[in-house]
Symmetry: D4
Subunit: 253 residues, 8 copies
């Protein structure tokens, strides 16, 4: 919304108490938050439906609760707390009784009363081993919080190809596929080769030695010979879900 100051200026011009040249000069000097907000409405619009996220790992329960409360007053979007320590999760559930707690993902989702997300279609979240589950659940829980239906597919290692081939149809029935894998990250290439859906690859830090905390999987995914795969940061299940949300929710203006 344009500021009151601009309105007052226009009224003064209308009344003739300020000349056009004076008004031009004042507009030039107006702080950008006044004019800028008008310009950047699209920006605010853009955030509608986007999650507001709190990286809770290094915050006290009180801090996280306070930030969440403030966010819920300011937005109708769901509020997500990621990497939530157990005591913080309890504090959030106490404060917001309707909140959802995804324990393996260490994710808490709080919705404002009046939020109603449009139905956005299905996203597959596929991962290879049980160790990758926390990251996969962070992706799945975030995607659900943003209005997607999630098809979870787990335990589909590249060493057992038949299990992957068995879910080919489920992959193709979705609007986007999030592949979560550590170690050598080869699952992303395989999925990219058997579906035409957009594939978002999330390397995880699962592994040891020369996995270098996920570097091996990250490099492998970036160099996939299956064309058209894109990659997020290591362990960034949240980011992959927002990436999918952009695909599902964005409508060209």
């Amino acid at each position: 919304m344009l500021s009151e100051e601009v309105k007052a200026l226009l009224e003064a011009v209308e009344k003739g108490t300020v000349t056009v040249d004076e008004a031009l000069g004042r507009l030039r000097r107006l702080p950008v938050e006044d004019l800028g907000f008008a310009q950047l409405d699209t920006h605010r619009e853009l955030r509608q439906g986007f999650p507001e996220a709190i990286y809770a790992e290094k915050k006290t329960p009180e801090q996280t609760v306070a930030i969440a409360r403030r966010m819920l007053e300011a937005t109708s979007a769901p509020v997500l707390a990621t990497r939530v320590p157990e005591p913080t999760a309890q504090a959030l559930l106490d404060e917001f009784p309707g909140a959802l707690h995804n324990e393996p993902a260490r994710l808490v989702v709080v919705r404002s009363r009046d939020s109603s997300l449009p139905a956005l279609g299905t996203v597959a979240v596929i991962c290879a081993g049980t160790s990758d589950l926390p990251v996969a659940e962070e992706a799945a829980g975030t995607a659900e919080a943003l209005g997607a239906v999630v098809d979870r597919i787990v335990d589909v290692g590249v060493a057992g190809l038949h299990r992957l081939l068995a879910v080919q149809d489920r992959l193709s029935a979705t609007r986007a596929v999030i592949v979560v894998a550590g170690m050598e990250g080869a699952l992303a290439s395989l999925v990219g080769g058997i579906t035409s859906a957009p594939v978002i690859a999330v390397p995880t830090s699962i592994g040891y030695g020369s996995s270098f905390d996920g570097l091996a999987a990250l490099l492998a995914m970036l160099n996939s010979c299956a064309a058209g795969i894109s990659v997020t940061n290591i362990d960034n299940g949240f980011g992959a879900a927002v990436c999918a949300h952009r695909m599902l929710a964005h409508r060209p203006a």
Copy 2:
């Protein structure tokens, strides 16, 4: 399509010349390319409309022309030659008079006669400096070859924010945005912050010293604080375009 061999087997079962148990045994031993092709139909389907690409850099003109000819016989998809040396480009244009040559991108696109791509909507390709143009053009040319309309936006450096803000509406009018940037790669974060469209970030090897041939831009893009950005390999304009194509063309089965 299932192989003739399977059909013949079924007919023999129907006629009673082969027992059910014998037929089961033979099915077990059938080479996978026979049954497999049936299973993998979706796979082949998936490739419809996908470009067949030839990395031409280290091939002779004769090799590239021969591969392109073979591909065009086997597929109705457009054939792309990427990183095409000048003599190879000339050879391709001689052989395929209707081919398109995108010179800055060193890209040649040849379409088979009967290929008609569906209209898929608009993709923005935005880059910061003129040095990033070859990669940006590889993305743009590939996207066009696959049926997208491309809105090219160049010379939008982060040091000149007003130029970026001026194209905000053009970005939001597209179905996906490809951001191409070298050096510190900050443009991806900025674009991600002002549009809700899917953003595919392509780091380039433009820079020197501690850019380490694109590593600086790659890491920056992977760590973007604008949520939901995904990243391709360094200089991989082709891959970014295929990534966008998956978003535009994929329909859940």
Copy 3:
């Protein structure tokens, strides 16, 4: 084994209640786990005798015990739990009284009742210092669980060449040699130079400073001037033993 569904279909074709064309159509749509399993029999065969392994480090005792129980029902292969915390080891021994606990290797091996491994010959496991012993024992314990006889050779540092030369004959009397070394990893080159046996090099994370958690040893082993040495991930004693097992147990089909 091919699924019942395929058998029923063939019987229907035999009876004439389903036409060949209908049968072809149904085969095309059969889920891959049905046809696929037939195709992938070799795959299952391959796993016979391979250890099923549980990476127990970050699992609760209950989880590890439950997974081990489920595996033992599904396979006749021995079940290995690697990097087993002390309480988990106790829980496994309580549940499976016949289990073997290799303490330095933090390895627990449980065999199903009816498993009887073929005699596969001897593998040498050689390491330089006592610090490398846990990784060496993980290799030795795994190899034994898979049916190999293991000749353990320890404390053979490159700074004491005579100790290495003294075991030359023991190395040559084996079918494969696993070399476990941290720091500069030179032992692998030395062993490769004095035996014609296959040499599997396992870098360890033993060292400090510019060993970079095993990177120095890994790079040294990959660049060995003794030809024909191959390398596993850092600290991957388990993988080296499975690698040796492939050499000992595989028979060309």
Copy 4:
């Protein structure tokens, strides 16, 4: 062969011109090349059948020819020149009319007249793309020079799973499999998952950007979730073949 000096010493003892104690003292002081050669006979034995290799890339044709000539006089093993420039290849063929020139591998093999290699069985060399062929051919040509039968399998990318499944039986019919792959190197994991044969993974420098000249493939292969895969240096087709040769030719003493 033990040195003349030792023989003379023994004869002097026999004749009584040197006492046993004097002889003991002299033996202690003998240079190691005399006694050592005796000790290290196994070592020389080991090299029987091993190729003597010349890294020809940075040598003049004259140098390479001279070294090859000297080697052929000293050993009955085949002599291999690797990474041979074109003029050097020509010079070798002129000098040794029976030499074999594997052009894509830039490999020249010269056998001494009396070399007759034992039949050692089959090795599969499998690679994904045509760009990996030079490294694959270096492996294949070396393996053949050492007495193996080689089954070459090319163009089996992970994005086309059916092509891989179609060669499953050929893989299992071999005694060892060499997997050559650049980019994300996922083929090694796939092959490891469908065969029980020993798998030697060779990362190649094929790729660009964050492949970092083969680092991505190397790390991926070291972190493979298919157990029991071992890895060589980047582009080291020669080393992989010698590794396979150790498996095929070594007999426990």
Copy 5:
């Protein structure tokens, strides 16, 4: 300057042909380049006196000359071409007879007729060896082009402390010191320890082996135990000079 459209709008409000509310609405929708330019005047102001720079290395002489000509029409600031190949330097000198050519720095400076830079004080540019001179000259030439007086101090290696102590007073007589050093980059720490002036450290790619193209010097400078040193990219003499220019020319608004 605010756009004509805004002026017309204000005049319409003054005349009463547009209501205040209508005007508010239109202002909200105005393209950002109109209002934005007003807002971003400071931005343009900021660039006054800043060099416009052309990275000439990979451009044709014609391209560089054309870009320089366009820039000179648009700005009163000097135009710098950096890393200029010899033919391009000649072309620039032909086109702009008054241009300055700093040959060791491969730098060409062209001034518009009416540019008159304020006197900004002295900057010291100090480097250790003659190999660092091209980078040092890029810094010195750029600083001079921007109005600084430059005191060049060369051949002051850390192995000859007395030479450094001898120039201590010259360092302190300047407003900022640019230290250019490759290899271990220790000169930056030494200079930081003997002057209270701002120190801008420029690592160079001079060195070999584990200098890793300047990485060693870069890390050393970032970890200097002399407090308050800041660092630019490797070989970035141009950037260091602009950094010094900010210190000399900026006046708080």
Copy 6:
């Protein structure tokens, strides 16, 4: 101060008990700490007003208090303890009642009685997220301890450009800007593009995965396309403040 020995020597020359040549000879042999101190007076001068800093993290409270007490006796400059554990902070406050404790920065500042810092102007400290606050406060607190007025600007992420544009004037009203940012570090480029003030960029270790503990931000800042930005070590708020202090306090001699 020059040593007593020199004074005695001069007096002996004055009295004629030592000849000029003898005196010259003795001066040549004088230990450097005597003459050197005279020479290096500027050096000591330089440190006037510089903070003496104690890195308190790994020291006991007693050690830190003792060092601080000794420093305060030797210098009139303020004494800073950085990264101060809570018990050490308490001990310092007990010992020096007037000390300032900046808790988020873990910084304690103690001034000697007679220290009076000159007014040096304003420094802006700007950071993107609340996680960067400790580093930003270390910079702000240090700058204040050295006599600067600090304008703190927080929560200005690149994903919310309007907030950055809104503070453009505050940035330009300062003499230097310290930009503190983790993750992709893009804020430094943006700030550099909208102000002509000197910009000191401090990468932080905030981030995860491929941020590699601040490496991503460090590389991005070093490669900024906004010219004239200089960079400190990761998390080095203290160093950035001293860097700004050099700019504000240094007067050419």
Copy 7:
């Protein structure tokens, strides 16, 4: 000592019960530990006076005591335990009342009764900051245990050149200088520039951020422009002392 078997063989030759040719054949087959030990006497000799070292960090007090006891029985050299935890130090002192405990270095030295080291001359150990003291003391304590006189020089940072110049004579009065420094490691270059003594540089892990646990100092020292400096692993004070010991104690044979 040569084995009894060789003696018996020679006696048989002397007696004529074994022919020279038979004797030659048997010598060839003798196990290497017999002849080898003779050959490798120099090797054992070499270790005289070298410390036997126990890396005690991850051993129990009982283990370390037991190993030390065994070593003392086998050698007359002093036994060093490095990185000794407090309880282990106590256990060693209880067991060996005459043992020396260097607390900052976490070093315990135990001498056998009859060890008397020759006087070897002086080694300087110089370090910059108090944080580097543990590594410096590990070097100093080890050198003393091996018979050197140590001149400790601390707190000689490169930011205070006069302190370094003041100790120039002490450096030159030694037979070797060990320089211990973290952060940017520049002290090694400075010391190398003012003394002709051998300089052994020990990078330490002191630092933060882009020191990358000592990598910055390591690279700087390897790239020193002061010729003839050699470098040890990060934090390897023990190794540097043994390096100096080689210089002081070795006499050409």
Copy 8:
């Protein structure tokens, strides 16, 4: 030599025309080059006998000749030009007829007429393969130029231990050993284990793939389990020789 100014000052004190206090004040302000040179005489002394070296690789023949001529006038030490291109070598030989040209090392040594080096004893230079010869010769040639006798030992790979054991006595007969090795650099550990002489390890860039231009050898040598080995930069044969020279030539003052 102390400056004339100091002498004049002392004479004025002697005459009574300047008081002692005035003289003290003036001494304090004397530029460091005057007093400093006196102080730093030891420094100049130190360089006696050290080679003055010219890194000739990127210089024109004229530049290198001119620098060499200037150096020879200023010092009695030999002048070395390293990495000398062929035309420069010819120019140096033309200018200085008595110069020595070590072709494989690309080293030219010019002695001043009156230089006569003291006999310093023997240094061994040992390397593994012929590819390491240029670096080994740079070390050997430099050591000889500085007065050492050099015992060259080549072709001693770790894969042929007997060749190493055969030269054990030659190693022990020297005062220092320089080990030159690329690939996995294990030779340094082996040499360190069989001699008590000081061992200077020089990693070379020989290798490919994951040797990363010598990084593998560098890390291996830094992590050697043979205690007391020190390391130089990659390919730094010159530096290793100067390191040895320090050991041979330095006499404690």
